[in-house]
């Protein structure tokens, strides 16, 4: 059973993505900010196959921060260097994309059709 760690601070998006992933056959663990995302991963490290992190959410200081997702990316990679990670974002931010990839992310996904994310996850896990 493939398990996805999903971290996003927008309730509606988090819930909807979670259900889409569930229906696609994944197991989903969720968190809504960097701190809880890191803790949740630590608790489930062995089970999680891939992490999907929103770019803009409350950071480790507990306050909303642009690019907080990249901080969490770094943290997770420290915990598990081989973990595949996708960074989610609302905007087409090219320089953030570069930063994400150089920080170890496998892909940068602009939120739109949820099905696209499912396909991306499948591609990464297969590849």
């Amino acid at each position: 059973m493939t398990t996805v760690l999903l971290v996003d601070d927008e309730r509606l998006i988090l819930r909807s993505l979670e259900k889409t992933l569930l229906r696609a056959g994944f197991d989903v663990i969720t968190a809504s900010d960097c701190k809880s995302g890191s803790a949740t991963f630590a608790q489930n490290a062995s089970a999680v196959n891939i992490a999907v992190l929103d770019l803009n959410m409350p950071g480790f200081e507990g306050i909303p921060k642009t690019g907080a997702g990249l901080d969490l990316l770094g943290d997770l990679k420290k915990q598990s260097p081989a973990l595949p990670v996708i960074i989610l974002t609302a905007y087409d931010e090219v320089n953030k994309a570069k930063e994400a990839v150089s920080g170890g992310a496998n892909a940068f996904f602009v939120k739109g059709r949820e099905q696209g994310l499912v396909e991306l996850i499948q591609k990464i896990l297969q590849g």
């Binding site: 909807s16 409350p58 905007y91």
Partner: protein, 635 residues
């Protein structure tokens, strides 16, 4: 010792230009005679008239007139006074000439010991007799005549020369006067012309003033086309000019016309007899032209065009005029160049403004689109799930088939039938759904027909749509209508800051004692301050070592002035314009809907207030918000 009364000593007038001789004579005679001296015969004559000396001693070698002539004149003036000529001329006849001239004595130089005695003798009445007086008189007179004639000739020649010089001077003077006037006019024209930056106005003004100041028949300005092949008439004096321009009058830039020629060669061209001149293009609009000049308008070695000046008179222009007028043409060229550059600059500026505006709009639109896309993202997924779930639910509902139909369940049976039929029509495969469900475990089944899940998905879709709509309405729709009330900004902002969850000590607030309430829509204004404070914080996060936000509130006339100042990185000038256009800041989260500064400005504007920004890169940013104060209620 006999006392000699000087007043009674005889006076001798001595005319000699030689200082030494005079000194000698003085030495020899002054013990018994009074010596009056003159170095110049004319002075001598005057002195003689004044003093009536007893004797006049005249040296023969005098300036201006000879001693003889002086003698003759003296004789005429004072017939009784003895005149003695003293001369170094020992040529034969010199003594005779002297006597013929009217002298009664002749003393040869050098002056010797006899001198005193001789002078005594003459004073006592000695007269030397001239033999053959007539003959010598004649010779003398002839000499006189010749000399006079010679003098006359000299004088005439001098007068002629002077007349000639005078004429020359007059000519030169009038030429200078003319050149002066030209230069003056040229300078005046040049000065005014360089201050006109509008090209059309400049050209019109120039042709008019040149024509008027120089009293010409016509003047016009041609400017070269972009391909530099044509000189196009851009301004022309009077009716002729108007008509020619209406016809788009133009000349090729080649040697054939004066204008073309002057542009090609970058040299003035002049035609003094326009009727006969080869390289002049006969212009039917200007039939009275008799002389003409074309002056190229050159700036930095590039010919922009040419100026034509035309006169009804022949030979109205000289080569010298070219210098003065070319100087003026050069200034006109500079003015035209400046006006053209000004046009280019205006174009470039409006181009730049357009580009920047488009950029700003594109940025704003892009962000807006992304935001909407983000909020809308859950909707398709949720709706798909609802659709899927409904298939299963319909499948179950369609199965409703009680063993027997009775009045209570007739409707239900019919309903179940309707569901079955329509589902089929719509292509929902209820059979397949039933099959799947039969094969499932309870857990899976639970997920499929979960009423909770279905309602939740509808909620997700609905809330997402609501969020989008509320933003839209917040910005451009009915919610713009405000419910104004007397609001304490101090309370509002204090609450807002508390809800933002910023670390302790970051925000410092100071409120004036007489701070009035503001008369505003609380919901909208709350968003304004939320936005401003959040922006400040986010800019400083992880950037500024000791981040601080100072909020001050006080009264400012009929307004409440709230300033929000941070010590963050500040906003560079080139971004300061963009921030007002950028549509959204963050996507949501705990800080509100993130309206962005453009909305902030709109809200403040609509309340009749104002907002401004002061910031410099590296020196923080301060927003000043003015909102109308609530009228104090007299209690």
């Amino acid at each position: 010792m006999t006392h000699i009364d000087p007043r009674r000593l005889p006076q001798i007038l001595y005319i000699d230009r030689n200082d030494e001789t005079r000194a000698l004579v003085r030495r020899l005679l002054s013990h018994k005679y009074i010596i009056l001296e003159a170095t110049d015969p004319l002075d001598g004559l005057q002195l003689a008239e004044e003093t009536h000396p007893n004797l006049i001693l005249v040296d023969n070698n005098l300036p201006h007139i000879t001693g003889s002539e002086a003698t003759t004149r003296l004789r005429k003036m004072l017939p009784k006074t003895p005149i003695v000529i003293i001369s170094a001329d020992l040529a034969p006849g010199s003594r005779e000439r002297a006597l013929a001239a009217g002298a009664i004595g002749f003393i040869a130089k050098p002056i010797d010991a006899d001198f005193e005695d001789q002078m005594d003798a003459y004073l006592n009445g000695k007269i030397e007799v001239l033999e053959d007086a007539e003959k010598h008189l004649l010779i003398y007179q002839q000499e006189l005549v010749e000399r006079l004639e010679g003098n006359t000739r000299q004088l005439t020649a001098t007068v002629d020369k002077n007349k000639h010089l005078l004429q020359q001077n007059e000519r030169m003077f009038s030429m200078l006067e003319r050149r002066h006037k030209l230069l003056e006019t040229a300078a005046r024209v040049g000065q005014v012309v360089t201050s006109i930056l509008d090209l059309d106005e400049l050209l019109k003004y120039t042709v008019n003033i040149i024509r008027d100041e120089f009293e010409l028949y016509y003047s016009g300005i041609f400017l070269v086309s972009d391909d530099e092949q044509w000189a196009i008439l851009r301004a022309g004096y009077g009716e002729a000019g108007k008509k020619m321009m209406a016809q788009n009058y133009r000349l090729r830039v080649d040697e054939k016309s004066m204008i073309g020629n002057s542009i090609l060669s970058q040299h003035a061209r002049i035609a003094l007899d326009a009727v006969g001149e080869e390289s002049r293009f006969k212009n039917p609009f200007l039939p009275d032209t008799r002389s003409e000049m074309a002056l190229p308008l050159v700036v930095k070695r590039r010919a922009l065009g040419a100026l034509t000046v035309q006169s009804k008179h022949l030979n109205a222009f000289t080569e010298e005029d070219i210098t003065s007028l070319q100087a003026m043409a050069d200034q006109v060229a500079v003015a035209i160049n400046n006006a053209q550059l000004m046009l280019k600059l205006e174009d470039a500026t409006s181009e730049l403004v357009r580009t920047k505006t488009f950029e700003a709009i594109a940025t704003a639109t892009g962000e807006a689109i992304h935001w909407v896309g983000n909020k809308a993202a859950p909707i398709p997924g949720s709706v798909k799930r609802v659709r899927e779930d409904l298939t299963y639910i319909f499948a179950i509902a369609a199965q409703f088939a009680p063993r027997e139909a009775n009045p209570q369940n007739e409707a239900l049976i019919a309903a179940a039938q309707i569901i079955k039929e329509e589902a089929q029509e719509k292509g929902l495969d209820l059979e397949k759904a039933l099959k799947e469900m039969s094969a499932m475990k309870l857990n899976q089944l639970r997920a499929l027909v979960s009423v909770e899940s279905l309602l939740e998905d509808l909620d997700i879709a609905s809330n997402s749509a609501e969020t989008i709509l509320s933003i839209k309405e917040g910005l451009i729709g009915p919610a713009r209508q405000r419910t104004d009330a007397s609001v304490s900004l101090r309370e509002m902002i204090t609450d807002t800051v508390a809800n933002m969850g910023l670390p302790e000590g970051v925000v410092e607030m100071e409120w004036a004692d007489d701070l009035p309430n503001a008369f505003v829509d609380a919901r909208q204004v709350e968003q304004v301050f939320n936005n401003l404070i959040k922006n400040g914080w986010e800019a400083m996060l992880n950037v500024t070592p000791d981040p601080k936000i100072y909020v001050h509130g006080r009264r400012d006339d009929n307004f409440v002035l709230v300033t929000i100042k941070d010590n963050g990185p500040g906003i560079p000038k080139n971004i300061q314009e963009k921030i007002w256009v950028s549509f959204f800041t963050t996507k949501g989260g705990s800080g509100g809907t993130g309206l962005g500064l453009s909305s902030v400005m709109q809200i403040v504007d609509q309340h009749g207030g104002s907002i401004s920004l002061e910031s410099e890169e590296g020196a923080g940013a301060m927003f000043s918000v003015r909102l109308p104060a609530a009228k104090q209620v007299e209690s």
